[in-house]
């Protein structure tokens, strides 16, 4: 370890409640090793080691130090990770618990934050980089933006994502509770105690590793105990209750409709770069809890607001409360000589803490004329110099700007916004400021409610809860209640009211007895006036993370931006991971001053999820890699895998696409290409016999006396006369007359039908049937049940299909007794089966259906007997070629929701004279559906035999016309036909049915124009004789 912790207080000092000095750790920051202790945050350890510059700023590349101690920290943003795979960007050093070997780098700064080359550009560029710089500079030419952006991003140096796969796992957990309490400070602990006593389910979360919030930094006593001990005791009491779930290291990041809250629990990030295993089992690194709460109690506390003054971004400037936190929790006093600038009594605690920790308080500059509260009196009694009616107008620094070396203090006139007296330069290394507190209203703002300003507390509090968030309440400092007694009372009152609304009487909870102070009134001040006007004074930062200055806001208002939402976007104030935690209120106050109006008149911007950054792993959970999306398998899936199938995704199904074989003629054993495999599979079906796994087709069992009537209403064609034992192709339209699905439906018995749907349409069609039944025709007696997964379906097709199947079944397959479009029951390969004689290839086909558990028995038997017939498994690509040769459409490929049955040339499938006005019928006589120039389905035959047109290619009538050409249609399906030894396509062409024999043109991006002849859509066996052999 290369450094001693020179800013660490001795263990005898009695401070440092969070650290364990017996457990030394070492960590690496920007390549250098430092010591720290267990319980430290990265920030407290850096301060203990005297590391002042922890980062460079976003726009001006100025040296920056730690400002705060929690989620509101704007500067100390680091890149974490000792290996490439473990990289985590945008971690706040104030929130990262130290572990041995922790490795971190500053997010900005090249080559590092100490010696920064970009800083030079920042210094040179500073005066030339006014607000709206990017909008003004890089607006033209638009084509150059991509070039500019590359350099801007590099200079901005935002954190980077790892280039290697994350070795950790993450997960989600769904939780439900009656009361969710967000924040475990005094208000949250009290609310949880009050709620838990009633026995309802309570979840209490806090972003810190230890519950207690401000009590951890407090010198006060509660019920006669030190505040810290009271907090410990409260946590112990809660932990003992079964109905309470405690989630430390857990940030409530987003608040959504109807009390749905997402919590991000960092489970192992305090233990190492990657999550440790436990008994060899991987543990999730972090977990996203998805909470549905009946009541949400927001106890998120308040952030101390720094003042805005010149030089306020130099390391050594901190918010006052952060100093107390570092001293009390981590035994770190990050300086020797402190000047404190305040508008209120609370900050005097920091002066006293600093002095008690052995530091020198040079002076307290109090903006008030006559500060007289009890804490002020204590400071006076401790000999601290108080300069009333004054403020730090500028922090001065060493030449490099690496550390504060003085504070210019002057008397000020707040009303007149001017320095009213002589400036006194005080020698110091630390400047702490407090402009009061800003309630943390972020989560309340997620509900869509704008915060409202309260003059009495000089802060925004959550507005009236809206109806979609019934059961939401805000307590403690988040509601603008700061005194301990009031905090406890507000928590208990809110919980009682919430439970009472559900008819639950909360048990009486004793409100703790606390010390009360006589408190002097605070004064409203945000930006401190400087002896120079704002535009000429040294930079006074409002938003440190986004490098937004008071001058920038002033300039924005001068350039005409008056809405706070516009000022925010023009200046970038409160953007990104910062979400305006420290700067927003000051920025609004400055906007208000520049516009000569009040803060409530100016209003506030709102905050969005997430409150602090959430890693992608936590958002994704285990929905990644092989669990990213369900893969649906048929009963024969393993066989397909074992036989080398390539798979095609059809919805969530994995369907065999084609089965490449080793090429017999080649010694290298290479597999067939897709083209070769498809040619072989097509020939096998046309010449011998093929088998397709068709199990993925949707299947719906329909039962009831009105089943037939229902089918007649939902399908375009007639079902009145379909006899038991017969099957029929059906076309389904939406009520706008456009084709939505098709399939074969079978009459199993008088009241019993089996409908098949497209693979992708199965769930939607079942919902469609239910929709019409439940909303329009509840009087029809019919029930629908999905049996898609119950049946395994194998399509045997080809001239040898009958010969093969007859070896395996007791069913009479004779062509005259088992006709086309009929079904039979029997035994196939020892398994009871339903066999349908239907065809999607144009060849003689038998579709064998068995209960899926027995599928492999039948499938294997087909192959046992099939070799002598040349049985070949084929996939969806071959199926597509074969059906297209026959002109059979695929809904969703040859249709796109704008094709009527007539557009498809399927008048034969439309029952114009059915008594009931079936779904889609009326729309077919609308003027638009009667247009003669509608796009109609035709066949295209390229003039050159080996051309396979591109699916989606646009069709024109005159290839010589000027661009943009008039497009008259496009190719929907296109393949090479091994049977025809020719490319062929299906296409939709305006008025296509009357264009048979015409030539059309397909200009391609590469300059080639294909020519094709418009032909009928049936390319093979137009009389349909092959399926009747």
């Amino acid at each position: 370890m290369s450094s001693t912790q020179s800013f660490r207080l001795a263990s005898e000092s009695g401070v440092g409640s969070q650290i364990d000095c017996d457990k030394p750790l070492s960590f690496i920051f920007n390549g250098k090793s430092y010591p720290g202790y267990a319980g430290d945050t990265l920030a407290s350890a850096l301060l203990a080691n005297g590391v002042d510059v922890v980062n460079r700023s976003f726009k001006y590349s100025r040296p920056r130090g730690i400002v705060a101690a929690g989620a509101e920290e704007p500067n100390a943003i680091v890149q974490l990770g000792s290996s490439e795979a473990a990289q985590v960007p945008n971690v706040r050093a104030t929130q990262q618990t130290l572990f041995d070997g922790l490795t971190a780098r500053s997010t900005n700064g090249w080559p590092d934050a100490q010696r920064d080359m970009m800083g030079l550009i920042g210094k040179l560029g500073g005066p030339f980089m006014p607000v709206g710089f990017y909008y003004k500079t890089f607006k033209a030419p638009a084509s150059m933006w991509l070039t500019y952006e590359k350099y801007i991003r590099k200079a901005a140096g935002l954190g980077r994502a790892p280039t290697e796969s994350d070795p950790d796992i993450y997960d989600h957990m769904n939780r439900h509770c009656e009361v969710l309490v967000i924040g475990a400070g005094p208000a949250g602990l009290m609310a949880a105690l009050a709620a838990a006593s009633s026995g309802v389910r309570v979840i209490l979360c806090d972003e810190q590793p230890v519950f207690g919030g401000s009590l951890l930094d407090s010198a006060e006593t509660i019920d006669g105990m030190a505040a810290f001990d009271w907090a410990l005791d409260a946590v112990e009491r809660l932990a003992a209750l079964e109905n309470v779930t405690l989630l430390p290291r857990t940030t409530a990041n987003g608040y959504f409709d109807h009390n749905f809250v997402t919590l991000h629990e960092r489970r192992t990030e305090h233990l190492g770069d990657t999550a440790p295993t436990l008994d060899g089992r991987r543990q999730p690194r972090s977990r996203l809890h998805r909470i549905r709460a009946r009541h949400v109690v927001l106890a998120s506390g308040a952030h101390e607001r720094p003042l805005v003054y010149a030089g306020n971004d130099v390391p050594g400037n901190l918010v006052a409360g952060a100093l107390s936190t570092y001293i009390r929790r981590y035994a770190v006093r990050p300086g020797k000589r402190l000047v404190l600038s305040t508008t209120n009594d609370y900050a005097y605690r920091t002066a006293l803490d600093w002095q008690n920790a052995g530091g020198e308080v040079v002076a307290v500059a109090d903006a008030r004329a006559n500060p007289d509260g009890e804490l002020v009196e204590r400071a006076k009694a401790a000999g601290i110099r108080i300069i009333s009616g004054s403020a730090v107008v500028e922090a001065t620094s060493d030449r490099k700007g690496h550390r504060v070396n003085g504070a210019r203090v002057a008397a000020i006139d707040i009303e007149g916004f001017r320095v009213s007296g002589e400036v006194e330069l005080l020698n110091c290394d630390t400047v702490a400021t407090s402009g009061g507190y800003s309630p943390v209203v972020h989560l309340a703002a997620h509900t869509g409610v704008r915060p409202v300003w309260r003059d009495d507390i000089l802060g925004f509090v959550p507005g009236q809860t809206i109806a979609a968030f019934e059961g939401f309440g805000v307590v403690g400092a988040a509601a603008g209640v700061y005194a301990a007694a009031g905090v406890f009372e507000s928590a208990v009152t809110q919980v009682k009211r919430a439970l009472a609304s559900d008819g639950i009487d909360a048990e009486e909870v004793q409100i703790p007895i606390v010390e009360t102070f006589r408190e002097g009134a605070a004064v409203a001040m945000y930006q401190v006036p400087h002896d120079k006007p704002t535009m000429r004074a040294p930079k006074q930062f409002v938003d440190l993370q986004n490098d937004v200055t008071a001058a920038a806001i002033e300039l924005a208002t001068k350039e005409g931006f008056e809405s706070i939402e516009h000022v925010k976007r023009y200046t970038a104030m409160g953007f990104g991971t910062d979400q305006g935690k420290l700067g927003n209120i000051n920025g609004m106050a400055i906007t208000a001053r520049c516009l000569g109006q009040t803060i409530p008149q100016t209003g506030t911007t709102v905050f969005r999820p997430n409150y602090t950054p959430v890693n992608f792993g936590a958002i994704v959970g285990r929905h990644c890699r092989e669990l990213f999306d369900p893969e649906r398998y048929t009963a024969m899936h393993q066989w397909h895998v074992e036989h080398g199938a390539k798979f095609e995704d059809v919805g969530q199904w994995k369907r065999p696409w084609y089965y490449p074989q080793k090429r017999r003629e080649r010694a290298d054993g290479k597999l067939e290409s897709m083209h070769e495999a498809v040619v072989r599979e097509c020939r096998a079906v046309r010449e011998k016999v093929g088998v397709l796994d068709a199990s993925t087709l949707g299947k719906i069992d329909i039962q009831g006396p009105d089943a037939r009537e229902f089918l007649g209403r939902i399908y375009t064609n007639g079902w009145e006369k379909l006899a038991v034992g017969k099957a029929r192709y059906g076309l389904m339209c939406k009520d706008d007359g456009m084709v939505m699905d098709d399939g074969v439906t079978t009459c199993l018995a008088d009241n019993h039908f089996l409908m098949t749907t497209t693979t992708g349409g199965a769930a939607a069609i079942l919902e469609w049937l239910e929709l019409w039944h439940q909303t329009e025709w509840p009087e029809l007696e019919v029930y629908f049940t999905s049996v898609t997964d119950h049946w395994a379906t194998m399509t045997l097709t080809g001239p040898e299909a009958r010969n093969l199947l007859s070896e395996l079944t007791d069913i009479d397959l004779d062509r005259d007794s088992f006709k086309f479009m009929e079904w039979r029951e029997g035994i196939v390969a020892g398994v009871p089966a339903r066999v349908y004689r239907i065809s999607f290839t144009g060849e003689l086909s038998f579709e064998v259906n068995v209960q899926a558990n027995y599928a492999m028995q039948v499938w294997e038997a087909l192959f046992d007997h099939g070799e002598k017939y040349g049985l070949t498994p084929y996939g969806t690509e071959t199926m597509h070629v074969l059906r297209a040769e026959k002109g059979f459409i695929i809904v969703g490929q040859d249709t796109d929701g704008s094709m009527t049955p007539e557009d498809l040339g399927m008048h034969w499938c439309v029952g114009y004279n059915k008594p009931y006005s079936w779904i889609g019928k009326r729309a077919l006589t609308r003027s638009d559906t009667r247009r003669e120039d509608r796009k109609q389905l035709v066949g295209l035959k390229p003039l050159e035999a080996n051309v396979v047109l591109e699916e989606g290619a646009q069709i024109v009538l005159d290839p010589k016309q000027a661009i943009p050409m008039r497009m008259v249609g496009h190719v929907t399906s296109s393949y090479y036909s091994p049977t025809l030894e020719h490319g062929f396509a299906l296409a939709v062409v305006k008025g296509g049915h009357k264009r048979l024999g015409e030539k059309v043109y397909l200009p391609m991006p590469d300059g080639v124009t294909h020519v094709a002849e418009v032909v009928g859509s049936i390319f093979y066996d137009p009389k349909g004789q092959r399926q009747n052999i």
């Binding site: 549905r292 019934e470 706008d736 929709l771 439940q774 909303t775 006005s917």
Partner: protein
Amino acid sequence: MFHIYCPYCAEYREEEEFHPKGQAHIARPADPTATSDDTWGEYLFFRDNPRGVHHELWVHAVGCRKFFNITRDTRSYAILETYRMGDQPSVTAESMILAERDAECGVTSTATMQGVPS
């Protein structure tokens, strides 16, 4: 993420279980052949898009598979009521205006979220 009271399952369920199906109470004209092109076009293509109270058809797709109606405030996303197919809403834009008037006159409303206790 809505929390929706399914009137058939008689309990609150997560939005992920439901599919929205558009505006509720769109009846298919009884005799389509006697319906003019304009009226048929209205039925097919035109829907309300109110700021405020809206009646919507939903289905408990991953659940009981029943269709039902939701009355929702499109401003706040509050669900004011859910009710079964065939039932009429008790909360409407008109009833909300009356309730607001009553509230101004000091009459307190006893309605709970989605019309049912949670």
